[in-house]
C-alpha cells in the first residue's frame, strides 16, 4: 500500500489549477455549505492540510521500556497520536509488517519525504563490534546513518539513546554509545529517563506538531520544559528535608510518615526530571512518593554514580544552618566523600547551564 496521498490542493495544483482558482473554489464550497466567511479559511486549511508527520522509530540496544512508556500516554492517548497526529510508519513493537515488508515501510518514508520525516531512536548503538546489534542483516549503525541523512530531526528516547544507559555502565562491554555520539549534523532531542515519563514523551511529540519547532534544549540536549528542575526542588517531601526530618531505615516510623529519603540514597538533589511535577502514569505517584529514593535515571552515567542506597554528601539548600547528617540521628556520616565533589560540581554546572543556555529552540524549526 502506498504511503503518500497528495492533499486535495496538491492534486489540483498538479493538474494546473492556480492558487487563485483554488481559493475561489473554496469560497464557492463555503457558500454552498451555507458557511459564513470564516468557514472559508477552515476549508482552505482542510484541503491544503499537509500529510501527518512521518516518523520512523528504531529499536537498537534497548529493553523496549520506552515503547511501553509511550503507550501509557494519557494526554493525548497513544491511539490518538498514532492514528491522528503522526504517521508512525516504522515501529517494530507495534507495526503489522515483518521482515522485508517492514523494511520497505521505512525505506518508502525515506524516499517520499526527504527532509520531512523524524527519526526516533530507542536504544544505544554498539561500537565495539557492529554485529552486536543487527536488524535485517544490517548493523544498528548502518541503519541509523542511512536514515538520519535526510531526516528533519532525531528524537532520542530514554537514557539508552540519550546517554547509553545500563549497557554503557562500566565496563560497557559492547561499546554502547548514544545517538548524538554516533551521528552529526542533525538536531537531536534527548528525552531522558529510564524510561521517560509517558506524558513527557507525548508532550515532546505534541510540541513538535503544535509549535512546529524543536523545543528549547539544555546543554545535554534535553527539552527544558521537562528537564530544567531538580527532582529535589520539586519534591513534595522537600519540606521534610529542610526541617531535617529523614527516613533512617526503610519502613521505619519516618518512612510511614513520608519523611525525606535523602539518607536512603535519594539522587533527587542531582537529578533533573519532571517526576515531582508531572508524576508517573497520569499523575498517580513517583518513586519518592511510593517510598523509594530517586535513582537518578534521567542523568548520564547514573548507573555508575551509585551505590543507590548510599546518600549524597553535603547537599546545599537547607532552610536551616546545618546539614542532613547533623540534623538527623547522625547515623549517615558522609561515607561518600569521594563523590561529594562530583555531586556538587554537577549541580553548579547545571545551574550555569540552565541560566546561560543558548536558545536552541529558536534556531532549528521543524517546518
Amino acid at each position: 500500500m502506498e504511503n503518500h496521498v497528495p492533499s486535495f490542493y496538491e492534486d489540483l495544483k498538479g493538474k494546473g489549477v492556480s492558487r487563485r482558482d483554488f481559493l475561489k473554489f473554496c469560497t464557492t464550497m463555503a457558500a454552498f455549505l451555507g458557511l459564513e466567511a470564516s468557514g472559508v479559511t477552515q476549508i482552505v486549511k482542510a484541503f491544503e492540510s499537509k500529510p501527518r508527520l512521518p516518523v520512523i522509530w528504531f529499536h537498537f540496544q534497548e529493553c523496549t521500556c520506552c515503547s511501553e512508556s509511550f503507550i501509557r500516554a494519557s494526554h493525548p492517548i497513544v491511539a490518538d497520536i498514532v492514528l491522528n497526529k503522526i504517521s508512525l510508519d516504522y515501529q517494530e513493537t507495534l507495526m503489522a509488517a515483518s521482515g522485508v515488508q517492514a523494511e520497505e515501510a521505512y525505506k518508502a518514508v525515506m524516499q517520499k519525504y526527504p527532509g520531512e520525516y523524524i527519526v526516533m531512536v530507542e536504544g544505544s548503538i554498539p561500537t565495539e563490534n557492529e554485529a552486536y546489534c543487527c536488524i535485517g542483516g544490517r548493523s544498528a549503525l548502518q541503519i541509523l546513518e542511512e536514515a538520519v541523512k535526510n531526516c528533519k530531526a532525531v528524537v532520542a528516547w530514554g537514557n539508552c539513546a540519550s546517554a547509553g544507559c545500563v549497557q554503557a555502565a562500566s565496563p560497557n562491554p559492547t561499546g554502547a554509545k548514544p545517538v548524538h555520539k554516533v551521528i552529526s549534523g542533525k538536531p537531536v532531542i534527548n528525552v531522558q529517563g529510564c524510561p521517560p515519563i509517558a506524558d513527557v514523551m507525548a508532550g515532546v511529540v505534541v510540541h513538535l506538531l503544535t509549535f512546529d519547532r524543536i523545543p528549547q534544549l539544555d546543554g545535554l540536549g534535553r527539552p527544558k520544559a521537562f528537564y530544567s528542575r531538580r527532582v529535589h526542588d520539586t519534591c513534595y517531601r522537600r519540606a521534610n528535608f529542610d526541617a531535617g526530618l529523614f527516613v533512617e531505615s526503610f519502613d521505619d516510623d519516618g518512612a510511614k510518615r513520608g519523611y525525606c529519603l535523602y539518607k536512603m540514597g535519594c539522587k533527587g538533589p542531582v537529578t533533573y526530571n519532571s517526576c515531582g511535577i508531572i508524576k508517573w502514569n497520569d499523575g498517580v505517584s513517583y518513586p519518592i512518593q511510593s517510598g523509594h529514593p530517586c535513582i537518578g535515571c534521567s542523568e548520564e552515567g547514573f548507573w555508575d554514580n551509585g551505590p543507590f542506597y548510599q546518600h549524597l554528601p553535603e547537599v546545599a539548600g537547607f532552610g536551616i544552618e546545618t546539614t542532613a547528617d547533623k540534623v538527623g540521628l547522625g547515623l549517615g556520616i558522609a561515607t561518600a566523600v569521594g563523590i561529594a565533589g562530583h555531586a556538587i560540581v554537577t549541580n553548579v554546572r547545571k545551574h550555569k547551564e540552565i541560566t546561560n543556555e543558548p536558545e536552541e529552540g529558536s534556531k532549528v524549526e521543524t517546518k
Binding site: E92, Y132, D282
Partner: protein
C-alpha cells in the same frame, strides 16, 4: 526444491529476532531462530552492591517490566537468608499479577491479533451485524450499532488518508485470514480499546513502586510503607484505587479478552489447533506464593516438568541441581574454556563473546556454524518449552481444580480434544485462560492484604540483613519466578559484600535458542516444522506460531561469567 526465506526483523515482539525457514512443497522443512543483539548486563553487574542488582536486571526488559527485579530481590534474599514480611509478599504478588494481566492482554491485541485479524477487511463489515455478534458473545457495554459504525468510519478515514502508519504493508487480504469482516471490525475496535485500557492497570505498579515501566523494588520487602492514618503512605485511598484497578481489569478480561479469544479460536481451530505444537516437553517453576516463597506447595501455579506430553507424570524440578540445568553454546556466539561442546550449570557458567558470524550487512547466516546470541539451556538434556502452555499443562496435570475447570470448560466450548492444546492456538488460548485465573488470584491477594492491615500488621520491610556488615563473607543464591513468558531464574554469588557473579536463565532463552550438541531444536524452531506456507513471500503462518510464544529477545540474550572459586580468573570485557 527447498526455498530459503528470511524474516528479519520479526516485529510485534520485544527485541531483535531473525527467523530463517526452508520451505519444500509448501511446508516448512527446517527452521532457524537467531537473536541478533547483545548488551552484556551480567558483566556490568560484577563488583556492584547486591542490593542494587534489581535495578540493573530490571532493565533487561521493559515489556516484562518488574519481573527481573522481582527475581533479583528473591535471589539476593535467598543468598542472605532473608524472609520478607507477609504484606511485602502480597504486594509483590499483586504487582506480578498486574503485570501478567497487562502483558497478556497487550500481547493478544497489540502483538498477536494482527496475525489473525485482517484490519482492512473490517472496512467491509456491516456494523449492525458486528453489533449483533458482539452482544451475542459478551455483556461488554460498548457494542451498539452506532459504536461500530463510528469505529469503522474513523478507521476508514485513517485508511483513506493513505498514511497507514503501523498498519502499512501488513499481510492484508492473505488467504490464511478467515474471520468474517464483522469479527474483524469487533477486533479492530477492541485493539483500540485495549490500547487505551492497558495504561490503567499498570497504575498498580505506580502506587506500590512509584512508576511504570520499571517500578522500584527492595531487598527485604517493598519500598512503600503502609500507614492508614497518613497521606504520605499506602492508605485507604491508595488501597481502594488498587482494588478498583483489579476489578476493572477482571471486567475487561471476562467481557472482552476471553470472548474475543474464544470467538477467534472458533474460526481457526480446525487447522491451527493442530499446527505448531513443536516440543513435547514442558517446564514450569511455579509462582504466586500464598504462604511464603519458601513453601512451594502454597503456590497458586504449581512447579514441575512434563516429558513426552505424558500428563500422568509431573517431574520434580530443582534449579540448583547441576544435573538438571545446563547451558550450551555450541551454536551461540560465545566460547567455553573447556570447549564449546560442554554443557555447564549456570553456577559454573562462563562467557566470552566470540562473534564468528558474517560482517554486516549480510544476506544469510551460516547455520553450519554458530548463529545466535542466545544460549541453549537444557533440562536433563531435554529441550523444554516454557510459558503459559507449560504452566497450564503442569497445573492441569497436577489436578489443580481451578486449572481443570478453566481448561475443560474451554475445550468443551470449542468442542476440541485435549490434544488441541499442543498447538499454536493452544498456546494462545492457554495465555488467555491463565489471565482469567490470575484476575481471581489478584483479588484474593488484595483481600488478604486488607485483612492483614485491619489486623494491625503494616510491616512491609525486613531490615535485619540490610546492613552489609551482617552478611557472610561468601553467599550463593537462586531466585525463580514464573514470568509472563515462562520459567525465569537468576543466580548470584556474593563475595566481600559485592556481586562476584550474576547470571540469568530466561524464558525466551529456553524457547528461542539455537540447537544443542545433539542437534535437538528448541521450541521456536521445532514448532515451525511441518507448518504449511500458503505464500512464501508473505509468511504469515510463521508469525502466528512465533508470536504464540510472545518472544522477548532482550531477555534471552545476555552473557554469563565464571563463578565460584574461579571468579578471579574472569576477564572483564
Amino acid at each position: 526444491m527447498a526455498e530459503r526465506i528470511v524474516i528479519d526483523p520479526i516485529t510485534r515482539i520485544e527485541g531483535h529476532l531473525r527467523v530463517e525457514i526452508e520451505v519444500t512443497n509448501g511446508k516448512i522443512t527446517d527452521a532457524f531462530s537467531a537473536g541478533t543483539m547483545v548488551r552484556g548486563i551480567e558483566t556490568i553487574l560484577k563488583g556492584r552492591d547486591p542490593r542494587d542488582a534489581w535495578a540493573f536486571v530490571g532493565r533487561v526488559c521493559g515489556v516484562c517490566t518488574s519481573t527481573h527485579s522481582l527475581t533479583s530481590v528473591r535471589t539476593v534474599e535467598n543468598a542472605l537468608g532473608i524472609s520478607v514480611p507477609p504484606n511485602a509478599e502480597l504486594i509483590r504478588n499483586l504487582m506480578a499479577n498486574a503485570l501478567y494481566i497487562h502483558d497478556h492482554v497487550v500481547h493478544f491485541y497489540q502483538l498477536h491479533a494482527l496475525d489473525w485479524v485482517d484490519v482492512v477487511s473490517a472496512l467491509k463489515a456491516n456494523p449492525a451485524e458486528a453489533s449483533r455478534i458482539a452482544q451475542s458473545i459478551s455483556a461488554w457495554p460498548k457494542s451498539s450499532v452506532g459504536y461500530f459504525t463510528d469505529i469503522q468510519k474513523k478507521f476508514k478515514n485513517f485508511v483513506d488518508s493513505g498514511q497507514l502508519g503501523i498498519f502499512a504493508n501488513g499481510y492484508w487480504g492473505h488467504k490464511a485470514y478467515k474471520l468474517p469482516p464483522e469479527v474483524n471490525l469487533i477486533a479492530v475496535a477492541h485493539y483500540l480499546e485495549a490500547l487505551e485500557w492497558q495504561k490503567e492497570l499498570v497504575k498498580v505498579h505506580t502506587v506500590f513502586g512509584g512508576k511504570n515501566p520499571h517500578p522500584n523494588y527492595l531487598v527485604g520487602g517493598v519500598p512503600c510503607s503502609i500507614n492508614i492514618e497518613e497521606a504520605n503512605a499506602v492508605n485507604a485511598e491508595r488501597l481502594a484505587f488498587v482494588g478498583k484497578l483489579f476489578e476493572d481489569a477482571k471486567t475487561f478480561v471476562d467481557q472482552v479478552y476471553i470472548p474475543d479469544l474464544v470467538a477467534i479460536a472458533g474460526f481457526y481451530k480446525s487447522d491451527w489447533g493442530a499446527i505448531g505444537g513443536g516440543l513435547t516437553n514442558y517446564l514450569a517453576f511455579g509462582d504466586f506464593p500464598s504462604n511464603g516463597y519458601n513453601n512451594p506447595e502454597s503456590f497458586k501455579m504449581p512447579r514441575g516438568a512434563i516429558l513426552g506430553r505424558d500428563l500422568s507424570h509431573i517431574l520434580e524440578v530443582k534449579a540448583d541441581d547441576p544435573e538438571q540445568i545446563q547451558e550450551y553454546i555450541n551454536n551461540s556466539w560465545y566460547e567455553y574454556s573447556k570447549g564449546d561442546k560442554t554443557g555447564l550449570h549456570p553456577w559454573e557458567g562462563e562467557t566470552k563473546f566470540n562473534y564468528t558470524g558474517p560482517k554486516p550487512p549480510y544476506e544469510h547466516l551460516d547455520f553450519s556454524q554458530k548463529y545466535s546470541w542466545v544460549k541453549t539451556p537444557r533440562w536433563k538434556g531435554n529441550p523444554m518449552e516454557v510459558g503459559p502452555l507449560s504452566r497450564m499443562l503442569v497445573g492441569y496435570a497436577s489436578g489443580k481444580p481451578e486449572f481443570k475447570e478453566v481448561v475443560d470448560s474451554t475445550l468443551k466450548a470449542l468442542d476440541v480434544p485435549v490434544a488441541a492444546l499442543f498447538s499454536t492456538l493452544g498456546r494462545t488460548a492457554a495465555r488467555g485462560l491463565e489471565t482469567k485465573l490470575v484476575c481471581g488470584w489478584a483479588l484474593e491477594f488484595y483481600q488478604q492484604l486488607l485483612t492483614n492491615i485491619k489486623n494491625g500488621d503494616t510491616r512491609t520491610q525486613n531490615n535485619v540483613k540490610w546492613d552489609p556488615e551482617s552478611w557472610p563473607k561468601q553467599a550463593k543464591g537462586i531466585g525463580m519466578v514464573e514470568a509472563p513468558r515462562g520459567a525465569l531464574s537468576h543466580f548470584i554469588v556474593i563475595e566481600d559484600k559485592k556481586i562476584a557473579n550474576y547470571q540469568l536463565v530466561v524464558p525466551t532463552t529456553w524457547n528461542a535458542s539455537p540447537r544443542d550438541i545433539k542437534g535437538q531444536r528448541s521450541a521456536y524452531e521445532e514448532s515451525l516444522i511441518g507448518t504449511p506456507i500458503e505464500d512464501a513471500k508473505n509468511p504469515l503462518e510463521v508469525l502466528r506460531t512465533i508470536h504464540s510464544f510472545d518472544p522477548c529477545l532482550a531477555c534471552a540474550v545476555h552473557l554469563y561469567d565464571e563463578n565460584g572459586t574461579t571468579i578471579h580468573d574472569v576477564k572483564t570485557y
